[in-house]
């Protein structure tokens, strides 16, 4: 993978090792602690259908090089969309302006550094499928959703895939590369029962091969799931607002962990001391039932990477261990300034963006309880199994989430579906109120996109069934 990527850039764009060395020299011409070059070539395509016809087919090529120079806490960044020595050199000179010394004529020599991981060595990536085969996949989902119930009116299904070649050269002498496949199937539908309109969504994917969509993650399964969610919502009653026990289902509800805790543990916020978790390493930040990790090394997962976008191998990083805050999510800049270990979490949306500390796959480890016992233990509460999206203010710790599928729990039994439930709370407080953790850890199906400072990256989330006490539920009715 690493060799393939390096060869790809060298051959396609006529680059040599000495070109790379010279470009790093140009970036550090005015001094600086560190420089890197991020080469990216991305081929993406998509097909989409709606109203039972194939309405869209797209293909794009995106390519460029980002040059970064770091000096202390300062970063200079420039990029070019032309992968050619002269254009990259101009970008390097622009990025070098952050440097403040007149000398910097050191020479640099990079060597290819092999990757430790090989997490998505797929035989045939989804990108290699014939267009007709992709169209067949989106048709199957569409048909399955329509067949599920006659009240399913509108269905949109789509398949997106990409192959991304990256190569990273750094002034500390490393040249790394990776070829990263990614695919995502998505389907949404509207159920219409005499003017009562409800939406359902499903999908899945990852850094996967074509076999993925033929196993249990079939287009039919996604179509059914989207339709099922929409139909259930037709019967949903208003959510009662108030403070109550909340049970989160396994899998995608881990998005709450991602927002409420994960972002607050990103090292940039902690270096700047603007996170509600700043300065709490070694302290109790969650109930002792909670152990939370960020793991970029899970094979074929959407959030996984062989190397991060700074060329560092990804890791399994312990964030919270039995309730104690153990570590942060680090990139190079912040690990250096905080004197932490790098964790392989320096990620960026594309060559147009500077890397930042970002999550990969973030989840809570399984506990002891069964889901049935957890639900049975709740007298009156909410059981939330699917979420739309959420947001966090990392400084105050406040977060908010919208559940897209949730039910009341009454006397230990799951009863009526509710609509419009939002969960609200404070990141550092809510995990302290976790009173049960299930034995049923699941990761999400591979559709997550995380946004930060205008940059989007694919991520994974996961959770076992958990119970949180005293959670604020905002409903559509007071």
């Amino acid at each position: 993978m690493q060799q393939d990527a390096i060869r790809f850039f060298f051959e396609r764009f006529n680059l040599t090792y000495s070109d790379i060395d010279n470009l790093l020299g140009a970036a550090l011409l005015r001094g600086g602690d560190y420089a890197d070059l991020y080469f990216e070539y991305r081929l993406s395509s998509s097909v989409g259908m709606e109203e039972q016809i194939v309405k869209s087919a797209t293909k794009s090529v995106s390519q460029g090089v980002g040059v970064r120079v770091i000096t202390g806490e300062k970063t200079g960044y420039a990029y070019t969309d032309e992968i050619a020595f002269e254009a990259i050199k101009r970008a390097a000179e622009t990025a070098s302006y952050i440097g403040n010394s007149l000398e910097g004529t050191q020479s640099y020599a990079v060597n290819a550094t092999p990757n430790i991981h090989n997490l998505y060595d797929v035989e045939t990536p989804v990108a290699a499928l014939e267009l007709a085969t992709k169209i067949e996949l989106i048709k199957r989902g569409d048909e399955a959703a329509r067949k599920f119930d006659r009240r399913i009116r509108e269905v949109q299904s789509g398949l997106a895939d990409e192959i991304k070649y990256v190569m990273i050269a750094s002034s500390d002498g490393r040249l790394t590369g990776d070829v990263q496949p990614l695919s995502r199937y998505s389907i949404s539908c509207i159920a219409d029962d005499d003017g009562n309109l409800q939406v359902g969504r499903s999908g899945g994917g990852g850094r996967i091969g074509i076999e993925f969509y033929e196993d249990e993650q079939s287009p039919e399964a996604f179509g059914h799931e989207a339709a099922r969610q929409a139909i259930i919502q037709l019967e949903a009653i208003d959510t009662p607002a108030g403070t109550m026990e909340v049970v989160l289902g396994p899998g995608w509800p881990g998005v709450l962990l991602h927002e409420a805790v994960g972002h607050g543990l990103e090292a940039d916020f902690n270096r700047k001391e603007t996170s509600a978790f700043s300065g709490l390493i070694g302290q109790q930040v969650a109930s002792e039932l909670c152990t939370v990790v960020d793991d970029g090394t899970l094979p074929t997962r959407r959030g996984s990477l062989n190397i991060d976008d700074e060329g560092e191998p990804t890791n399994r990083t312990m964030l919270i261990e039995n309730g104690i805050l153990r570590g942060f999510i680090n990139d190079r800049l912040n690990a250096g300034l905080l004197k932490n270990q790098r964790t392989g979490n320096g990620r960026r949306q594309s060559y147009k963006h500077m890397p930042m500390p970002r999550m990969t796959n973030t989840f809570m480890l399984a506990g002891q309880d069964t889901k049935e016992d957890i639900i049975r233990s709740v007298k009156y509460g909410l059981y939330a199994v699917q979420f739309g999206g959420g947001q966090v203010d990392i400084t105050s710790g406040e977060f908010a989430f919208s559940a897209s599928e949730a039910y009341l729990i009454e006397d230990g039994k799951v009863t009526a579906p509710v609509k419009g439930a939002t969960l609200r709370g404070s990141g550092p407080e809510s995990l302290k109120r976790v009173t049960a953790v299930g034995n049923d850890l699941e990761l999400d199906q591979g559709v997550g996109v995380c946004g930060k400072d205008g940059q989007s990256v694919p991520v994974g989330v996961g959770l076992p069934t958990i119970k949180i006490e005293g959670m604020t539920v905002g409903g559509t009715k007071a």
Partner: protein, 449 residues
């Protein structure tokens, strides 16, 4: 190796696609130069500079369409891209509504809407850094409780947009923008709060003074200190301009042809009906001089225009591009927008709630007991059903005055009922963005603790 980009070049490329077998083709070229300085704690933290350009090609063949994009302008790369497009289009399905606009609809005069500022192009890096630092300094000077900054900075952007198609339209315009922002952190009693303030304009001389932006950012942050929840109750709610703007943004989504033709909007089937009280007039105007959402022609080459969406409470017009117009048996309103790849979609020009006559201070003074919303969190809005539920923060109002900061509450309602319950509209409309509204007072909403 690279070919100079021009509207003639774009026209020629569209013509070439037709020669290769497309029945019609459309080319867009976007070019952009950006500069960004980030400062923190009196120092430059980041300097970023970039130039990029990209090309998108949409081809049509017997009612089918497909699109491709790339940034390599070499002849070989463009040839490959064109062949890909022709291959792709064969695989899609015929769609009666897809296609270029009718030739008589295209803009014939490309009016200069004053979107470009030489002065922005002429700023030196040092001047940009100085603007950003002045903003942060002003914020710090407001109070010793401003102990930290998440960031802040000054950004500029300058770009051009070229569109040409095989029906003979070719147009080009350029524009600039500059923005300034500060994100201070205040701390008291061991609890931190952050907020931000910003300004963004087409022209440098219209941008608020860095000192004013910094001061407002600090004041907004300070007043959040020691925020607390309030009990569940139904009270009048004032949405300050920034929040009223995001509320109006949901009305745009609901009135967009894309939601309407899918019947996925609470405004579906409501054309000609009363959807708000008579105080409410909402318009979209793509031709406001110097407007951030202004452009002389839309992404299909149609002239932009002013469309009254809601007139004194009556829902009068959808916002449409050619495709959604045809789906609904109507004409485009000149609201097509597009990225490099993909078919056009519907976007706003400058979408706004018409201002009323009350000052924001008068509006707050009129409330005996209520809530001023200054921030919201979450995605609790459903355009299909119109339900609205957001985690919110702001200030409690007692006897017409701001009493204490509030955090950790949910405000819930229904967009349609909210539009009907707008009792006062402020005179403080500012085009600090392309979807904007003045301060509004909603008669009653549920706030839950």
């Amino acid at each position: 190796m690279a070919i100079t980009t021009s509207k003639e070049f774009a026209s020629q490329l569209a013509g070439e696609a037709v020669k290769r077998g497309a029945s019609a083709a459309e080319v867009i070229i976007k070019q952009r130069r950006e500069f960004s300085v980030g400062v923190r704690l009196g120092e430059v933290e980041t300097l970023q500079e970039s130039t990029d350009r990209g090309l998108g090609l949409r081809v049509l063949l017997d009612g089918k369409q497909a699109s491709v994009s790339g940034s390599d302008f070499s002849k070989e790369a463009l040839d490959d891209l064109m062949m890909e497009a022709i291959e792709l289009v064969k695989a899609t399905s015929p769609d009666d509504s897809a296609g270029l606009p009718e030739p008589e609809e295209f803009a014939t005069v490309i009016e200069d809407l004053d979107l470009y500022d030489e002065e922005i192009e002429g700023l030196s890096a040092q001047e940009k850094i100085s603007l950003a630092l002045r903003c942060e300094d002003a914020a710090r000077d407001v109070s010793p409780l401003i102990v930290n900054f998440e960031g802040g900075g000054f950004d500029t952007s300058s770009g051009s947009f070229i569109l040409a198609n095989s029906l003979g339209f070719a147009g080009e315009y350029r524009g600039t923008s500059c923005s300034i922002a500060s994100v201070p952190v205040a701390s008291e009693n061991g609890r931190m709060q952050r907020d931000y303030w910003f300004d963004v304009r087409r022209k440098l001389n219209e941008l608020d003074k860095p000192e004013d932006v910094g001061r407002i950012a600090a004041e907004r942050t300070l007043r959040k200190l020691n925020a607390r929840p309030v009990e569940t109750q139904s009270v009048p709610v004032v949405f300050e301009s920034r929040l009223a703007g995001s509320l109006i943004g949901y009305i745009f989504q609901a009135a967009s042809g894309e939601s309407i033709f899918r019947k996925a909007s609470f405004l579906y089937g409501q054309l000609g009906e009363r959807i708000a009280n008579e105080r409410v007039t909402i318009a979209d105007d793509g031709r406001i001089r110097r407007g951030l959402g202004s452009r002389p022609f839309d992404a299909e080459g149609l002239p932009t225009r002013k469309t009254i969406v809601v007139h004194k409470g009556i829902f009068e017009n959808y916002l449409l591009d050619t495709y959604t117009g045809r789906k609904l048996g109507m004409k485009s309103t000149g609201n097509a927008s597009r990225g490099l790849v993909g078919a056009p979609g519907v976007d706003s020009g400058n979408f706004y709630l018409e201002p009323g006559e009350h000052s924001p201070q008068d509006i707050i003074a009129s409330v005996k007991r209520g809530f001023l919303v200054t921030e919201s969190l979450g995605f609790g809005i459903n355009i299909v059903t119109g339900t609205y539920s957001q985690s919110a923060a702001g200030m409690w109002i007692e006897n017409g005055e701001l009493a204490f900061p509030v955090q950790g509450v949910t405000i819930a309602g229904n967009l349609r009922e909210m539009l009907n319950a707008i009792e006062m509209i402020g005179n403080d409309l500012e085009f600090r963005g392309s979807v904007v509204a003045p301060t509004i007072l909603i008669g009653k909403m549920t706030i839950s603790a």
